[in-house]
């Protein structure tokens, strides 16, 4: 990489962090609204369905597979990288599927999106999170196609690194939300 490219690359990484900060602010707003509303009483506490536990395990494992995808790309093992990056992609789809099944399971217990805000918040916040995972999947598929179909290029590691940062971020975001949803603040 040339000096100018490095400067540009640093700027892109910094821009990504700013983008993550805006996403963090969005969820700060939503979760603070959740706490404030819970404090006002008349709150229906939703027990997390077991599908959400499975999806949590899936998204954590997808972060792990992506981490190893990155390390294998760095060590030049392109076939292992190819396998792991597409595995991550599949795990991402699996996560969304289990979130969907989780919503169905909550609905089966009689808690619908238009009922008590205690239920509505769970639906809306987890849906907004899934939208961010979907965005991640779109970006991931672009990065995966570019880096695994074209011939090996050590500079790709930089794009993979940016993608990894986003992917781990939405992973941690879900872990935070999942724990958050199980706390009775009042």
């Amino acid at each position: 990489m040339t000096e100018e490219n490095k400067k540009q690359a640093g700027a892109q990484r910094f821009g990504l962090y700013l983008g993550l900060a805006t996403i963090a602010m969005l969820f700060t707003a939503l979760t603070s609204a959740y706490i404030v509303r819970m404090g006002a009483g008349n709150w229906l506490f939703v027990k997390m369905p077991f599908q959400f536990w499975i999806s949590t395990a899936i998204i954590i494992s997808s972060s792990i597979t992506f981490y190893f995808a990155k390390t294998s790309h760095r060590s030049g093992n392109i076939s292992k990288y190819r396998m792991l990056v597409w595995l991550t992609f599949i795990l991402g789809i699996a996560f969304i599927s289990f979130q969907y099944m989780g919503w169905l399971a909550i609905a089966k217990t009689g808690i619908y999106i238009d009922g008590n805000p205690g239920g509505s918040f769970i639906y809306v916040i987890s849906m907004v999170h899934v939208v961010h995972v979907m965005l991640g999947l779109v970006l991931l598929s672009i990065v995966a196609i570019r880096t695994s179909i074209k011939s090996y290029n050590p500079d790709h590691i930089y794009k993979i690194g940016l993608m990894a940062t986003y992917w781990h971020f939405v992973d941690f975001l879900w872990i935070y939300l999942f724990i958050f949803f199980q706390i009775k603040f009042f």
Binding site: A11, A29, A33
Partner: protein, 626 residues
């Protein structure tokens, strides 16, 4: 590569091509720029055609112009709407048949506008001017135009995201514009969009489909602001040229940086509020809605929500938003005052610190918009204290502006006049902020014309003055021509005197308790005495609006026929945007990027009128500002 010092390798070729091509173009001056540019750049600019150069451009200067011209169009629409509703307030008996012609007869049967149409007008006026003009039009224009030019960069960190930022803004505007012509009209629940009015479709005519369009438009607008802000911050922090340390940045850049940080932290919260509102409207949730009975319709199925929750989320954005509007004006005015006073800005560091203080406090004062919501009086007193703290950095800024022009050898240009006018307006409007920041007085003045007068002066007209100062000052950089001075002065005086004529009387109306947002005050005996005053305000508003058309004429005329810029640095300014060619190509500097050695405000130093930032420090010379 090494000689060009370009930031992005892939654009190196066409940036270079644009530069050579541009030199060629300068020789052929005299042709209208639009066409000349088109013809010559066509083949050279890496096969860039008209669409790539003027429509889907990734050149920050072109994107800045796009923001400016779109902002001007929206300002004409938004300002025009205010004249229509001022007619209702000042001259309710004059028939306005054109409303029926444009929007449909049901809005104005017999030329008399309906209350629903009035609500639509005030809602759209507020939304358009706050978001489309004073947010996108002001910081969008000057952040795009000035950041790369004043920090010494070829372009933004991500030119593509920058282009997307404009097009999301354009889409947001298109959606908002379409909503005027819906069968149920545009949103009519005021720009703050409080539930329950905004959350229940059947609540009012203005709560129907128009409100959905408003929410979609705002979501697009938020995306645009976030993409833009992200780019501005990244560019300022990462792509400064050699020697351009943070303590050598012009105050415009500092102001735009802080504006972008505020936007980045507050707009996602508005998005959160809007998402919950969309679910309440469309999915039957009850985030903001409790048991409500609508006469003629019956009980609503909602239960357990809280409309005040929306107000908290909204004003957590809403208050920083007023600083998003005013901070770019702070920066522009500081720069223009220093350049035209031929003196260093007084207290460069104090200016930066006070802007940072204002930005930090902006996040802790939102509840001063909510003193009458049943807020706990103790919480209210905390917000009063934090609100009044803002007076300190604001006063520092005003003091520094006045000291900058104090005993200066002032060069009177339209930009300078608008900057001085800005300081006047900021003082007048800021003082009434101290009244309103006190909860005990606010309870009397809340939702009266006093608050209308306050925020129109301090953030509406003042921010416009900052924008005008910026346009008059940097027009030569944008189009290579000057704007007409005489028309500029007429524009200034009519706008300045006229704005005070509009808003000063409103203070008296407000103190007498005249409520804002009312379609007609005729039903209240105690407000009838203000009839003549309302007429006066309406006439002043129309005169000021016409003066803005003068500005638009000047802008368009000067773009093609204005006096040409013949020297690189027509204002004898220190900042480095004036070291670029008169018509900079994509890439800004022909040769290597300039190197910066000193701060931007070395005016009148050691007997020299001005010392540009690119001049190295002389042996033994010390920096000016402390």
């Amino acid at each position: 590569m090494s000689t060009k010092d370009l930031h992005h390798g892939h654009s190196e070729q066409h940036a270079g091509a644009a530069i050579t091509d541009h030199v060629h173009y300068q020789d052929t001056e005299g042709v209208i720029r639009f066409e000349a540019d088109h013809g010559h750049h066509d083949s050279d600019r890496n096969k860039k055609n008209f669409i790539h150069t003027y429509i889907f451009s990734t050149d920050h200067k072109m994107i800045g112009k796009q923001f400016l011209i779109t902002g001007i169009i929206w300002a004409i629409i938004g300002g025009g709407l205010s004249n229509i509703f001022r007619m209702q307030l000042g001259f309710p008996d004059v028939p306005l048949h054109f409303i029926g012609t444009i929007f449909g007869d049901k809005w104005a049967p017999g030329g008399k506008m309906t209350p629903d149409f009035y609500n639509m007008l005030i809602t759209m006026h507020g939304t358009i001017l706050v978001f489309f003009v004073l947010t996108a039009g002001l910081s969008g224009t000057f952040a795009n135009l000035l950041i790369p030019l004043q920090i010494g960069a070829r372009d933004m960190a991500s030119p593509v995201l920058n282009m997307l930022s404009y097009w999301f803004f354009f889409l947001a505007g298109a959606v908002m514009f379409t909503s005027f012509f819906l069968p149920s009209g545009a949103a009519g629940v005021s720009w703050v969009f409080y539930p329950p009015l905004s959350a229940i479709r059947s609540a009012a005519v203005g709560s129907e489909t128009g409100a959905d369009f408003w929410l979609i438009s705002m979501a697009l607008f938020i995306v645009s602001s976030l993409l833009g802000g992200l780019n501005y911050i990244t560019t300022i922090l990462n792509l400064r040229t050699k020697g351009m340390s943070m303590s050598k940045l012009p105050l415009t850049i500092w102001a735009l940086l802080i504006t972008a940080i505020l936007g980045l932290l507050s707009f996602p919260v508005l998005l959160g509020a809007a998402i919950l509102l969309i679910f309440d409207r469309s999915m039957g949730t009850s985030f903001y809605l409790d048991k409500i009975y609508i006469s003629g319709i019956g009980a609503m199925p909602h239960e357990g929500g809280n409309p005040i929750l929306y107000q908290h989320l909204f004003w957590f954005l809403g208050h920083p938003e007023v600083y998003i509007v005013i901070l770019p004006a702070f920066g522009i005015v500081s720069e223009v005052l220093a350049v035209n006073s031929r003196k260093p800005i007084f207290g460069y560091r104090a200016m930066i610190l006070s802007m940072l203080a204002i930005a930090a406090l902006a996040f802790f004062v939102w509840a001063h918009h909510m003193f009458v919501t049943g807020l706990n009086p103790f919480v209210g007193s905390v917000f009063v204290f934090l609100t009044l703290l803002i007076a300190i950095p604001s006063a520092i800024k005003v003091f520094n502006w006045i000291t900058t022009i104090w005993r200066a050898n002032i060069r009177y240009t339209p930009a300078m006049m608008f900057s001085v006018g800005f300081v006047s307006l900021f003082i007048s409007g800021g003082l009434t902020g101290i009244f309103l920041g006190n909860s005990s007085i606010d309870i009397q003045l809340h939702d009266t014309y006093f608050i209308v007068a306050h925020f129109h002066i301090v953030m509406g007209v003042a921010a416009f003055f900052g924008m005008f100062a910026g346009v008059y000052h940097w027009f030569p950089k944008m189009y290579g021509r000057f704007m007409n001075r005489t028309i500029g002065f007429i524009h200034f005086w009519v706008t300045f005197v006229g704005s005070y004529c509009i808003f000063w009387p409103m203070h008296y109306q407000g103190m007498a308790g005249v409520p804002r947002r009312y379609y007609s005050h005729g039903a209240f005996e105690s407000f009838n005495k203000f009839g003549a005053l309302s007429e006066f305000i309406t006439i002043a508003a129309i005169v000021v609006f016409l003066a803005q058309l003068l500005f638009v004429f000047n802008f368009l005329y000067s773009m093609y026929r204005g006096k040409k810029v013949t020297e690189l640095n027509p204002w004898k300014s220190n900042t480095i945007e004036w070291t670029t060619p008169i018509h900079p190509g994509h890439g800004n500097w022909d040769g290597p990027l300039p190197e910066v050695h000193r701060g931007p405000y070395d005016y009148g130093k050691d007997g020299e009128d001005f010392i540009p930032q690119t001049v190295p420090m002389r042996p033994g010379e010390t920096t000016h500002h402390g």
